[in-house]
Symmetry: D2
Subunit: 244 residues, 4 copies
């Protein structure tokens, strides 16, 4: 896969170089010969210039098969950095969604078990895993709240589901002592349900509730200001709970 | 290393269990017998209760030997997630600072080369690397702007230095095509210098300037509000540049 | 003027009750009889319910004749609250833009002098002043940087123009000692020009540079989260300078 | 009252010039002769320079007699700008707190009625009203939820109290149709109670829930960044309800 960025419009295009076809977009077309090998730039028939990159992992995520909403890098990155894990870690995740979180985690840790209750979502996840060429995710078409007892030695339990309390209500003996359960929830109301449950349990310690906000900036010669309309959009809150 | 969290004050204490000594803090002391083995809680002579965790990677960072300011997890996590890398990646970083970024990256990728111009900072970095038991960082007491030509096949070049342009002025042929150079700079003025330099070069593509903001929340039974005084502190801006 | 809010869609409509006509919108029509007098609600021919309000000052601003971009209430309110003025104050303002700032200030203070260099903008301002029925604004089709010496006893000088330094370069003896000159500028680069000028002058004291951010929330029975896509948009920075 | 700003430390001092005494502070002392009349600067015995301003309304608020926490200008300004009122408006407010909101509103509108249930707070409010020389506030040592029926023709009802629902539970027929009831509440939980009450009433329309965030910036020759540690602190949420 290659990324083509139009110098004029700044639009990103994605070109599957394995198909060995000409590239067509609304700004014109580029001959396949002009995109083969190690080129850095290319010109369309309309004389527009494009920067050409080999797609990296981040570029590739833009072409995921889409199903449920995808967790943003700002949130996934913070979880990875905050949860005290490393490349030897084992992560259990539910719900799988479109697989973005699973694939992200699997790129950096040893093993990921992903639970997704809906079979159509499972199909999307499978396709995205294949597309990203990842081999350390095991996908279960199942309800984690019923299967959590099957898991053990969990370094991070990541819950991206409408009702994380269904999982938290269990004993969670498979989660290592001191390890994190991270809930990703869009609404304060869900946090309230979680904190209520935690207040009744001695084996959970609520360590942090936070929100990661990303602000884009535009800085040129005579301009330096936050971007309009591309600005900060709320995604979700993160709740960091430790297993006692 | 163990983490002890006082249930009354919420204060975190760090206990080196290898020393096999009693634990003393301002809230009282705990006998070494009460902290050995796999305990989850402990009581002090003053009858205060403590939750006891085995320290994870994140806990351990709290006891880094301190030198220059340490980059926060929110920023490091976003760089990891945004820069399109994975556990097979090779990162070059300067300046090393206290080693926090190097150690973080090394926990998730294959190899890190760290350049630090000041020898006293190098000593701090060495101690922190040892303390965290990391074996895939190579540390150079040198000026990266002079040594960048020695490096090749770089998947991510991370610059946390007052004048990143000293490095950017070079050809940077060691950075893979399409890979990122990420500058971490506290001031808009520095971004302006960077964008000025980029505007004169055909081999850099400025992809994103952003700022990661972390907001902490307090949610209990009858309270749900942002934390006072623990709130958002500016750290730095991130500039994502791609090598053409 | 009346405001009609559709209970189904939440859309705001504006109805000029002086025209004594039926009301038509994409959700249906309402007979003029059903909107006359002191009604609180009304039903359309399509059976949709509407809440009916007499428009207040804030509602009315939504129907301004539009020209240049309009300063937002969050910024205007902060200036009013921060600049140490009251209903006896005299404000000089440039550029007038669409008149929104002038009209807002005039609603709360004694007198406003508005300078606007472009005559077509002046026409827009005039229409908006008439529409809002304001009688304490004097409008000058002139360049404030040339006319500032004609003004005296200024309690607040408000500059919403691309190059506020053109005004700041003058002596500004008409501004009362200790009173504020507030610059409203979208870009950090403009602030840099302002602070550079201030550093060369003994009669200006830079007291505050700030940015007002407004975050909208959605709170219902089971939902409590920041609004999507309606969220925070950057407008401008505010620079508070005091005349020594 | 005069404001003295140390050029070296940037600290603000307040000097009551009516007392005709020398001024003493930790940076030295200044003779009363050097502070009389229309001076712009003064030197202390320690040779430090001070900028001298006549205090404006905003400066004066810094010397309020303190009791309950004071609402910030960013919030007060936004309420004034958003609530569709003007200098002819009548505002009813509870609880009075330290009087800061009452005094602010009274500086810009026709009349303010302030209700405060605690008599010691009333004493603080009285002193601050006198100190600010305001004559259009009427203060009631009473519970607004019991007295609201005595009020009529209200253009803005401002509620800064732990349980605004005690007032909202009433009919509020004294609030003009289409006018705002603004609740100032620190916690999402309080908003939830308010929205629950509103959902059971046909005579309230919930128009906006928002949060005003103020970010301070530091911009000098080679520096342009958000201020450290002076940054954004949460104060409260604003709920804008309209009387149907």
């Amino acid at each position: 896969m290659k990324v083509l960025i139009s110098k004029k419009t700044g639009i990103y295009y994605y070109y599957n170089d394995k198909l060995k076809q000409d590239f067509h977009c609304k700004e014109g077309f580029i001959k396949k010969e002009d995109l083969s090998g190690d080129v850095s730039t290319a010109k369309s028939n309309t004389n527009r210039e494009f920067i050409v990159f080999n797609a990296n992992k981040y570029d590739l995520t833009k072409k995921y098969k889409r199903g449920p909403q995808i967790i943003t890098p700002k949130d996934l990155g913070y979880v990875l950095a905050r949860a005290g894990i490393n490349k030897n870690s084992f992560i259990v995740e539910a719900g799988g969604g479109s697989g973005a979180a699973s694939i992200f985690f699997a790129s950096f840790v040893k093993k990921v078990h992903t639970y997704e209750i809906k079979s159509d979502h499972c199909n999307i996840i499978k396709k995205n895993i294949e597309y990203m060429n990842i081999d350390n995710i095991e996908l279960f078409n199942a309800d984690l709240s019923e299967k959590i007892d099957d898991e053990s030695n969990i370094d991070l339990l990541f819950l991206d589901m409408p009702e994380p309390c269904c999982v938290l209500e269990n004993k969670l003996e498979g989660v290592k002592k001191g390890a994190y359960i991270v809930c990703y929830v869009p609404s304060i109301s869900q946090i309230q349900e979680i904190t209520k449950l935690i207040s009744q349990r001695n084996d959970y310690y609520l360590e942090e509730i936070s929100e990661v906000i990303l602000r884009h900036w535009r800085v040129w010669e005579k301009v330096a200001r936050p971007e309009h309309r591309k600005d900060i959009d709320h995604t979700a809150f993160l709740v960091f709970i430790r297993k006692v």
